[in-house]
């Protein structure tokens, strides 16, 4: 019980640290790919401190305020339900299906704030974001269902513990096709290039973030970082066997993230339609094939 309470407090903090670290790391790696020196690793921290201590904040009303708070709160609440290494404070009260739905809270909060900001750029960004979500959810859900059916459980903790035995029990080896499909849609889930059209600064003035400044932008940045953490943690839990402790868990996340950032560093940006067609073609076909194989073998 005490351990659970401790992990309940510790996990969000760890997640925040990891998330902000990833944000800085991605900027550094991208800079190095561009043959730049790049900002210091703690640059996102400076940015967030700056934004939070800004001397003036501009609000567009109550929905705007609450939406942005909800987006961060939703992200933090979701983290408690995802096992990270040995820490899984609330996993017994919510399984993977609950996590899937809790993940809706933070985009919904951001979408509400964007809608309340009375700016069409924000609405365009939200519309693109939702279309992208519709795109990647098809392969992602197919792959996730394959995992759930394979392990005959919807609990993330059980999925992790069933992979714990040996390296070969990892789903990435037992279920290569769903793992591959999920990996292919990972950039879309993280909204990094080539799928960053929702918040494209050049086209739609950074989309949902267009009217956010000061603490609002800080919250949005934290929400984005937490979202990165959540997606990577789910990927690691589903396919890479979770982690024996928080360190191995972190290293696995780091490995996945590194590849993602490298893709981000060298890719151009898709158009919305291209992204949708891509996501519904190869990743969906691969995930579907994986699901069919799982259904066949589990009979």
């Amino acid at each position: 019980m005490v351990q659970q309470v401790i992990s309940m407090i510790v996990l969000p903090v760890i997640a925040l640290v990891i998330a902000v670290f990833f944000l800085g790391l991605s900027r550094k790696i991208t800079a190095r790919i561009h043959r730049r020196h790049g900002p210091p690793l703690y640059q996102p921290l400076i940015d967030v401190v700056k934004l939070l201590t800004q001397k003036e904040n501009i609000s567009h009303g109550t929905i705007f305020d609450l939406g942005i708070v909800l987006s961060v709160a939703g992200g933090l609440a979701t983290i408690l339900f995802i096992p990270a290494g040995g820490l899984h404070p609330l996993s017994s009260s919510g399984d993977f299906l609950v996590v899937l739905y809790l993940m809706l809270l933070s985009p919904l909060g951001l979408a509400l704030a964007a809608g309340a900001s009375e700016n069409p750029n924000a609405s365009i960004g939200v519309s693109r974001k939702f279309i992208l979500a519709l795109g990647y959810e098809v392969p992602f859900l197919l792959a996730a269902l394959a995992v759930m059916v394979h392990f005959r459980t919807t609990s993330l903790v059980e999925i992790v513990s069933l992979q714990r035995e040996s390296l070969l029990n990892w789903s990435v080896f037992t279920l290569p096709l769903p793992a591959l499909a999920t990996f292919l849609v990972l950039p879309a889930m993280l909204s990094i290039r080539p799928f960053d059209f929702a918040g494209a600064p050049q086209e739609v003035a950074s989309g949902p973030l267009v009217e956010l400044g000061g603490k609002y932008l800080a919250f949005a940045a934290i929400q984005g970082a937490l979202h990165t953490y959540i997606v990577l943690a789910i990927f690691v839990d589903l396919y890479l066997g979770g982690g024996a402790n928080i360190l191995t868990f972190f290293l696995k996340m780091l490995a996945v993230f590194f590849i993602g950032v490298c893709i981000n560093g060298v890719m151009p940006r898709f158009r919305v339609k291209q992204a949708l067609i891509y996501l519904w073609k190869w990743p969906a076909i691969i995930a579907f094939a994986g699901l069919v194989i799982v259904m066949w073998t589990s009979r």
Partner: protein, 623 residues
């Protein structure tokens, strides 16, 4: 008041009140409104008193058939009856202001109360004959209520009526057949008779009944009446129609599959000896989820969008029931109640917006109304959260139960259909919320006021119900568990905050605590940072230019980029097929009509010709 008295009183009061309200309207409008609300509340109060009561009364003897008409109440009937009474009461409260400047109000309230009485009669009837009677009362009054506005509504109502009559014919056929087989109309008697029937006969009855109830429940190939009917009806009635009236079909499914033909028998049925009947039923549900949900994406009319979602959400119930595990049925039945609450809420929200903006429900013309109608906005937000199934709303629990049972029964493709339906729902309901309440407020709505009290009352009540059942799902699930027990299926035994841990991991109170705690932490940081300055809607980023009034809104073709890809596949081809069929049929009958010239000579010639043919055939046979 004893349970017996309360139970005896419900239906007479429900039917009598309709007449009383109609007559009182001749005296005074205020009296009529008061009586309508009062009499709509009476069944609700009586049903509250009847919680946990089981009983049976004979109210009429059909001595010539040696049958009697029976009313019965148990968990199954009580559950649906309370949903009906709740939604109808709130809809009538909502109507007070919504309908105030409309004509023929005496008739309107009469019809609303009569529909209520009809639905109560359906769920409380203990034999199939009274079931059919009440069913027809409900169907016909619905026809009158849909066509209430006149104009296009009459066409929509006619479409409804034609399909409804087809369903009624099928049901009548099934009833006649059942009576001749079992020799009784009593539900328990029929159930006994069915237990010894052949599988083929069971399938026959099931298919007829499912066709009949499926038309009412608008499952996909027979859903085409619903979008027109919902969008043309007045908003309070749309709420009743989509919330509970259509779900009488779900009641019918449950009745026929779990009471008349027991579930064990249903599981054994095969269509053409190949397909599992209940799986076919599930797949119909899955198609009903996916196709209408994606058609809803294209709609620009607020009520039409909701109507398509009404069809889509019906698919979840069908899916849950068709799966037949205790969690699946519990999810499907719970979803029926949840759907009634949030779809009624959303129709009321549209109604309130319509009322304040003089009947605008084109999504592209609205915008920014959250500033003017905050309570209505909260209602709309709660409604869409429920419809999506965000945790802490009731929609989440029922959907979770359905998903969980689908995954655990290794039906991932069905689960995928259900899950992707949810994501389609998110897209279109966010469009609904965004276009009405968010974005720039057009100047013509500067003087819009918050909805009047009676509307807010209904909206707030339903919002509270959504969160209440979302946080304490155990309340309705206990009743559903009792219902499952009476069906002969392992009961769910829910806890107050979810399901027992042996069945799965769901604890709504923990989720609530987590989200609330994080909200508090987030808000603390938010409040610690410098307080924000409130700015005007025109002080928005416009690339250095001045924001244009009335035009700075992105709403038309909101998901254009997605339509480009999926548009060609999500047309309503079934409706097109029916229209094509009707056109061809008209042509055929037109040709056929030419045979009947009305001339005596030609008639005589036909008869002679026919006789000649008969004679020839007879002779042929001899050789």
């Amino acid at each position: 008041m004893s349970g017996q008295t309360a139970f005896t009183l419900i239906l007479p009061i429900a039917f009598g009140s309709a007449a009383v309200v109609y007559l009182s309207g001749k005296i005074s409008a205020a009296l009529r409104n008061f009586l309508a609300v009062f009499f709509a509340a009476v069944p609700l109060v009586l049903l509250t008193a009847l919680y946990g009561y089981t009983g049976k009364i004979v109210y009429y003897d059909l001595s010539f058939l040696n049958q009697s008409l029976i009313l019965r109440i148990d968990a199954f009937a009580w559950y649906f009856a309370s949903a009906v009474a709740l939604i109808d009461f709130l809809a009538i409260v909502f109507s007070l202001r919504y309908m105030e400047d409309k004509k023929q109000l005496d008739f309107y309230y009469f019809a609303m109360l009569l529909v209520n009485a009809g639905m109560l009669g359906i769920v409380l009837s203990g034999d199939l004959l009274s079931f059919f009677m009440f069913w027809e009362i409900m169907s016909w009054i619905t026809y009158l209520l849909i066509s209430y506005k006149g104009g296009k509504a009459v066409a929509a109502a006619l479409k409804y009526m034609i399909m409804s009559i087809m369903g009624s014919c099928a049901m009548l056929l099934a009833l006649g057949s059942l009576y001749s087989t079992c020799g009784t109309f009593d539900i328990s008697g029929v159930a006994e008779g069915m237990s010894s029937a052949t599988p083929g006969y069971r399938l026959f009855i099931l298919l007829l009944m499912i066709f009949s109830f499926g038309i009412k429940n608008a499952i996909v190939p027979v859903h085409v009446w619903l979008p027109d009917a919902h969008s043309e009806a007045v908003s309070p009635f749309s709420a009743v129609l989509s919330g509970v009236l259509v779900r009488m079909g779900i009641y019918g499914f449950l009745l026929v599959m779990f009471v008349l033909v027991r579930w064990n028998a249903v599981l054994e049925l095969r269509i053409l000896g190949l397909l599992d009947f209940h799986l076919v039923f599930c797949w119909i549900g899955a198609i009903t989820i996916v196709v209408p949900t994606f058609i809803a994406l294209l709609q620009d009319d607020a009520k039409r969008l909701l109507a398509w979602h009404g069809i889509g959400q019906g698919g979840y119930m069908v899916l849950g029931i068709g799966l037949g595990t205790s969690m699946g049925i519990a999810g499907g039945v719970f979803h029926t109640l949840n759907h009634a609450t949030y779809i009624a809420l959303l129709f009321m929200v549209v109604g309130a917006v319509e009322y304040r903006t003089n009947g605008v429900r084109d999504l592209n013309e609205l915008g920014g109304l959250a500033k003017k109608m905050p309570i209505t906005f909260i209602g709309g937000l709660t409604g869409i959260l429920g419809l999506i199934g965000v945790p802490l709303t009731n929609g989440f629990v029922s959907k979770w139960l359905i998903y969980k049972s689908l995954v655990m029964n290794e039906r991932p493709l069905l689960a995928f259909a259900a899950l992707i339906g949810t994501w389609g729902t998110i897209l279109s309901v966010f469009k609904f919320l965004h276009h009405i309440f968010l974005g720039q407020l057009p100047q013509k709505y500067n003087n819009v006021k918050e909805a009047p009290f009676s509307m807010r009352f209904s909206i707030i009540t339903l919002s509270l119900v959504i969160f209440l059942f979302g946080i304490f799902p155990g309340l309705p699930l206990t009743v559903i568990s009792a219902m499952l027990d009476s069906f002969g299926i392992i009961p769910l035994n829910p806890t107050l905050f979810g399901v027992p841990s042996t069945l799965g991991e769901l604890n709504t109170i923990t989720i609530l605590a987590a989200v609330l705690a994080m909200m508090v932490i987030g808000y603390a940081v938010f409040a610690w940072a410098r307080k924000a300055r409130r700015t005007d809607q025109f002080d928005s980023y416009g690339a250095g230019a001045y924001v244009p009034v009335n035009r700075y809104q992105y709403s038309v073709r909101f998901y254009e980029r997605a339509y480009e890809v999926i548009g060609p596949y999500i047309r309503d081809r079934i409706d097109e097929f029916y229209i094509w069929f009707v056109e061809k049929a008209e042509g055929f009958f037109d040709t056929a009509r030419k045979i009947y010239t009305g001339n005596v000579n030609s008639s005589t010639a036909y008869i002679v010709f026919l006789l000649a043919v008969l004679v020839i055939l007879k002779m042929w046979g001899r050789f």
